[in-house]
């Protein structure tokens, strides 16, 4: 999403046509919706949902053992359902209404008022931060904006599940994720993306969620992996993935869906969306090749798991940068993410000895940090320039420092709060299945089902 502090959204997102008719822009009423922008945002919403179900569900399910495939699919699916309700009831309101610098208010509780502008089937554009200095009129209805944001709120907790794959109780997951969405996700989204948010106010650049989504989920995953402990048999049993072809399908759908994630974060079908799509594609390819060649050189063979892991690392790293950088920079971001995440997931993890089953920390947190910091280096001014701020937010040492604050804040808040919520969940229902149950597999034990 755009960085609203500068208010450039107005200029960038109203269609060119309206700018040519100043009489419209000067109107005090809500902006008109643009059908092209709305079409793209409806599509982007579908694409981002596709990322979680079946994308992420398959990516993860393909990496676990046969006895946990269905349980792993179920985790992403149930989170999709839970967060949909949480978001509609309170999450959206906490994240995207004005409130104060730390949290939204409850004016959109139960989505109350979201239909206020509908008359005769027609809706008006949504003004994010209406009434504040940073008010950012959009050319899409609020329902569409709310839905697009919902898909981000869904995928973030779903990402965490990779860290504790094969061992968490289902009841614990339901409780923890519901709380996490409200207590961790909504506040951080507010800080970074609401015009009134304090991190937005610092000028942190996070186009599509490097901090809000990936660093946030990644550090929460690490905390989960540490608190739950290693899988039974970790280090001795063969834990080879049951069926990597699922993981390949999953990674592919993540890639395709990520066009909605990143190019959709332009909230319109405009030049910025086009550039976001281009740099997303290039960084992803560069990261996949980076990981692949690093693995080929150090381990002797290029693996399909390596290639797709690199692609995901690239997608993660370009996320915060996607609306700010040019193609050349995206290659650098991609290669850096691919090689660094390769090292984290294959070496650092073993050195430190935690069992982050599917490398949520190694790929999402580390990749997110690489991307967030390099956004501060490579940001290209004209992409974020506005009338009010004709230079935009060009990269440089200053911006890098601002970015580091965003990263550090997210790490600390999400890490600490995830720990607290795990403790609460543990007190309520316990976190982990028994050893026998873990051996038998979650599919049968938790859900009474198995695949062939």
């Amino acid at each position: 999403m755009m960085r609203p502090r500068l208010g450039w959204g107005v200029g960038a997102l109203l269609p060119a046509l309206l700018m040519a008719m100043p009489a419209f822009a000067a109107d005090d009423g809500p902006p008109k919706i643009d059908t092209g922008d709305t079409a793209w945002m409806l599509t982007s919403t579908a694409l981002v949902l596709l990322m979680t179900v079946p994308g992420l569900a398959l990516f993860y399910a393909g990496m676990v053992r046969k006895k946990n495939v269905l349980a792993t699919l179920m985790q992403s699916f149930v989170i999709t359902c839970l967060v949909t309700i949480v978001w509609a009831v309170a999450g959206y309101s906490l994240a995207f209404t004005n409130g104060n610098a730390y949290l939204g208010d409850m004016s959109r509780f139960m989505l109350h008022g979201i239909a206020d502008h509908i008359a005769k089937g027609v809706d008006t554009g949504f003004i994010l931060g209406a009434g504040t200095d940073g008010a950012a009129p959009q050319t899409v209805p609020e329902t569409v904006y709310m839905m697009f944001q919902m898909t981000f709120a869904i995928i973030t907790p779903a990402l965490i599940t990779g860290a504790f794959a094969d061992r968490m109780k289902f009841s614990a997951l339901v409780i923890f994720m519901t709380l996490w969405s409200l207590v961790v996700y909504s506040p951080i989204a507010h800080w970074v993306w609401a015009p009134t948010g304090w991190i937005a106010g610092l000028g942190v650049l996070d186009f599509a969620g490097g901090t809000v989504v990936h660093i946030n989920a990644g550090i929460a995953g690490l905390v989960c992996a540490l608190v739950l402990g290693k899988r039974v048999g970790y280090g001795s049993d063969n834990m080879a993935p049951f069926n990597l072809s699922y993981a390949v399908i999953g990674a592919s759908l993540l890639w395709v869906g990520w066009f909605g994630f990143n190019a959709g974060s332009a909230v319109g079908a405009n030049g910025r969306a086009g550039m976001a799509m281009a740099v997303t594609q290039i960084a992803t390819a560069a990261a996949a090749l980076g990981w692949m060649f690093a693995e080929w050189m150090t381990k002797g063979k290029p693996s399909v798991l390596g290639l797709i892991s690199g692609a995901v690392a690239g997608l993660v790293a370009i996320t915060p940068a996607s609306g700010y950088v040019l193609p050349g920079s995206s290659i650098i971001i991609g290669v850096a993410a691919g090689v660094i995440c390769f090292w984290t997931a294959t070496s650092l993890k073993h050195m430190l000895g935690y069992d982050d089953s599917l490398d949520v920390f190694g790929v999402h947190c580390v990749g997110g940090i690489v991307g967030a910091l390099l956004t501060g280096v490579f940001s290209y001014g004209p992409l974020s320039a506005t009338d009010a701020s004709p230079d935009g937010s060009p990269g440089g040492l200053d911006q890098l420092k601002i970015q580091a604050i965003g990263v550090a804040t997210t790490l600390v808040y999400s890490g600490v709060m995830s720990f607290v919520l795990l403790m609460i969940t543990k007190a309520l229902v316990g976190l982990r299945v028994g050893e026998e149950e873990e051996r038998e597999g979650l599919d049968l034990v938790l859900h009474g089902e198995q695949i062939f």
Partner: protein, 112 residues
């Protein structure tokens, strides 16, 4: 020569294999099987249709050894596959009349 056929819990396979190596066992063959026995499985429910999982996944190990090694092998398997919980499995011993290594044509104890 004896064929030792053992039905064990799947996650014990590596333990068993490691227990046999010191005895000089150089080869063995395993298959995935389903076992029916005293150990009872779960019930699966698919939209109201209930199926009891009466067959549980087991591993069958077949290893042919010289007759004089049989006791040691049985003991090693029994020990390494033991958990003490129901469903640990069985060991059966059969007589083998002849053996041949396809690659070299060696026969009997040479072939193992």
């Amino acid at each position: 020569m004896k064929l030792i056929m053992a039905i064990i819990k799947p996650f014990k396979l590596d333990d068993v294999r490691e227990a046999l190596t010191p005895l000089g066992v150089q080869g063995l063959t395993v298959s995935e099987v389903k076992g029916f026995g005293r150990q009872k499985g779960q019930t699966e429910i698919y939209r109201g249709a209930e199926y009891h999982v009466s067959f549980l996944p087991k591993i069958k190990i077949e290893v042919v050894v010289p007759a004089d090694l049989a006791d040691q092998v049985i003991e090693a398997i029994a020990k390494s596959a033991h958990t003490g919980k129901i469903g640990d499995g069985k060991i059966f011993v059969l007589d083998i009349e002849r053996a041949m290594r396809i690659r070299t044509g060696e026969v009997d104890s040479e072939a193992l």
